[in-house]
């Protein structure tokens, strides 16, 4: 087959331009901008003044940024443990030979395909609602007093809980595809050797899923560092310290929010760079921890 250079060029050009305009140029500019003092996001480079690590000192010295990092870390760890464990549990159950496997798999994944704004609204306006909400109805059924799920104390956990519910299905699908890739004869041999279901899970399934678990941890990290929508839904008007996350901090800083007297795009860029470095660090660490996990079988 002849190589048609003109065709290769014209066929690749639009994709190349998209990549450069949408990703390469902006990422580079954001990194550079994080070292400059830039007030408005639309300021031309002529108005930038070099600031060294000033933006980084500024954000790490800011109480609300540190709160947002703390919240993010909590979502990452607590949310991550619950989401990945629940996803693993669901994946094991769904592949255990139950009837209606396809139905259960589809139903558990469903929250991922609907608008997250709609899903969050369902949780806020129904499940956690004070007067007629599901949780308070159940609480009253058992003779308890109504709980303010969306009050300052519980809001963060209400948000994290509903976020977990919305995320489990996706990770379950990843684990299911991993489990279904494990050859069935391994389990048959183990059964003949007298290994119980639990033993089989810990000695066969889990070790062989290392690569998939690694992938899921990386995805979860990207997911939590870019966490934004759920905070916006749980604190729609004013940013609150109970639900603030770094992207919200960045958003308020760059595009204006309550309590921000002076916009600071340079600091916003620094937040972006910090979050990206966190993602890269998590990726490299899991890559190292799960080294040699891409087993062939």
């Amino acid at each position: 087959m002849r190589k048609n250079k003109a065709m290769i060029f014209w066929f690749c050009l639009p994709a190349l331009l998209s990549l450069v305009i949408m990703f390469v140029y902006p990422v580079c500019r954001t990194v550079v901008m994080s070292f400059f003092q830039v007030e408005s996001v639309t300021a031309t480079t002529a108005d930038w003044s070099f600031y060294g690590l000033g933006n980084y000192f500024k954000i790490f010295g800011s109480a609300s940024f540190m709160t947002s990092m703390r919240n993010m870390l909590l979502i990452w760890i607590v949310g991550g443990v619950f989401t990945l464990l629940l996803a693993m549990l669901m994946a094991v159950v769904v592949t255990s030979g139950i009837r209606g496997k396809k139905f259960f798999r589809a139903a558990i994944y469903m929250p991922n395909i609907i608008s997250a704004v709609a899903l969050a609204t369902m949780w806020i306006q129904y499940i956690f609602q004070y007067d007629y909400g599901l949780l308070n109805t159940i609480v009253q059924l058992f003779g308890g007093d109504k709980v303010k799920w969306l009050g300052t104390d519980l809001k963060f956990w209400a948000m994290t809980g509903s976020f977990i519910f919305g995320s489990v299905g996706y990770y379950m699908l990843i684990y299911i595809s991993g489990i279904e890739g494990i050859p069935q004869d391994l389990y048959e041999a183990a059964t003949i050797d007298g290994a119980g279901k639990g033993r089989q899970f810990f000695d066969i399934t889990l070790p062989l899923l290392k690569g998939v678990i690694k992938t899921s941890i990386t995805f979860w990290s990207i997911n939590t560092t870019t966490f934004f929508l759920w905070t916006k839904m749980f604190s729609p008007i004013d940013t609150e310290s109970s639900t603030i996350v770094p992207v919200i901090y960045l958003y308020d800083m760059v595009f204006g929010g309550k309590g921000i007297t002076q916009r600071d795009a340079g600091a916003g860029a620094a937040v972006g760079v910090v979050l990206t470095l966190i993602i890269i660090a998590v990726y490299l660490i899991t890559e190292r921890l799960f080294k040699g996990s891409d087993l062939e079988y």
């Binding site: 139903a107 558990i108 609907i114 709609a118 870019t226 916006k232």
Partner: protein, 281 residues
């Protein structure tokens, strides 16, 4: 129908309970929202929603659609999703094809760049994009559509690339001998062959644009160009003053339906696509 092996089913009982409770919870939530969307605010507050004593209040839907502007948000989202899906294919499919077929200078770099771009967080690109759009004077609907298209190019190209690589080269050789030009071969022979992949990737692009929120929030300057996500947030915020709970739930159902219906009919294809495409990369 196989005979039910009760002993086996009994052993699986804990499993049934776990997934059963999870799915039941989801179902209760959806049915309640549906019921509430057909009730008056007073019925909702007094917990009377499934009796429908005052009948079905379809007026909630009319109210959401007309008064609360859901029709506008819905139209916008449809417009953004459909144009973006077509536009991204026009850019990604040709690139995926030549990348899968020939080795050329910069080809590998482009491919790696696209893979990396798939995991670049939006926050790293949003600020320069914002200033570029102001500088070039692009705004509103046009800007959003262009951004959605470019945002989906990496994923779509990589997804289609995998499928083009599975096709045999004999098709092109035969076409070449018949005097068919390169671009023509691509359009008339190769593109139809990857149709299943195009459908799957388009479903994903559609759902992703339909549900997109962050960019829409930043780049929609007026309510008239807001897509459903941003529109719904506005409705909820104003509900505090209007007190129209039923209308708000009707809006939730309207926003929820399109991707949900798509899912009902294509769940197998969608689920296969989730773990088939990008995940292993």
């Amino acid at each position: 129908m196989k005979k039910i092996n009760w002993k086996k089913e009994a052993r699986l009982l804990p499993g049934y309970l776990i997934v059963g409770v999870w799915v039941l919870f989801t179902a209760v939530m959806l049915f309640w929202i549906l019921g509430a969307s057909l009730s008056t605010s007073r019925e909702i507050y007094s917990g009377q929603i499934f009796k429908f004593e005052s009948g079905f209040h379809w007026s909630n839907y009319a109210d959401a659609w007309n008064v609360q502007n859901v029709s506008v948000f819905f139209g916008n989202s449809l417009l953004y999703s459909v144009i973006s899906c077509v536009g991204v294919l026009a850019i990604a499919a040709p690139a995926a094809y030549v990348l899968s077929r020939w080795e050329f200078v910069g080809g590998k770099a482009l491919r790696i760049g696209l893979v990396i771009a798939m995991s670049v967080p939006v926050i790293m690109v949003i600020m320069p994009i914002y200033s570029l759009s102001v500088q070039w004077g692009i705004k509103g609907r046009v800007l959003l559509v262009i951004l959605y298209i470019m945002l989906r190019v990496p994923y779509t190209t990589i997804y289609l690339l995998d499928f083009f690589s599975t096709l045999s080269r004999t098709y092109e050789e035969a076409a070449y001998l018949d005097g068919c030009s390169g671009p023509n071969t691509f359009l008339k022979i190769m593109l139809p062959l990857v149709q299943p992949a195009i459908i799957t990737v388009t479903i994903f692009n559609f759902m992703s644009v339909w549900n997109e929120f962050f960019m829409a929030l930043i780049f929609t300057s007026s309510e008239s160009m807001a897509p459903v996500g941003v529109g719904l947030l506005n409705i909820i915020n104003s509900m505090k003053y209007t007190g129209n709970v039923g209308g708000m739930f009707a809006a939730v159902i309207i926003v929820f339906l399109p991707t949900f219906l798509l899912y009902i009919f294509m769940s197998e294809k969608i689920i296969a696509g989730v773990t088939g495409g990008g995940v292993k990369g």
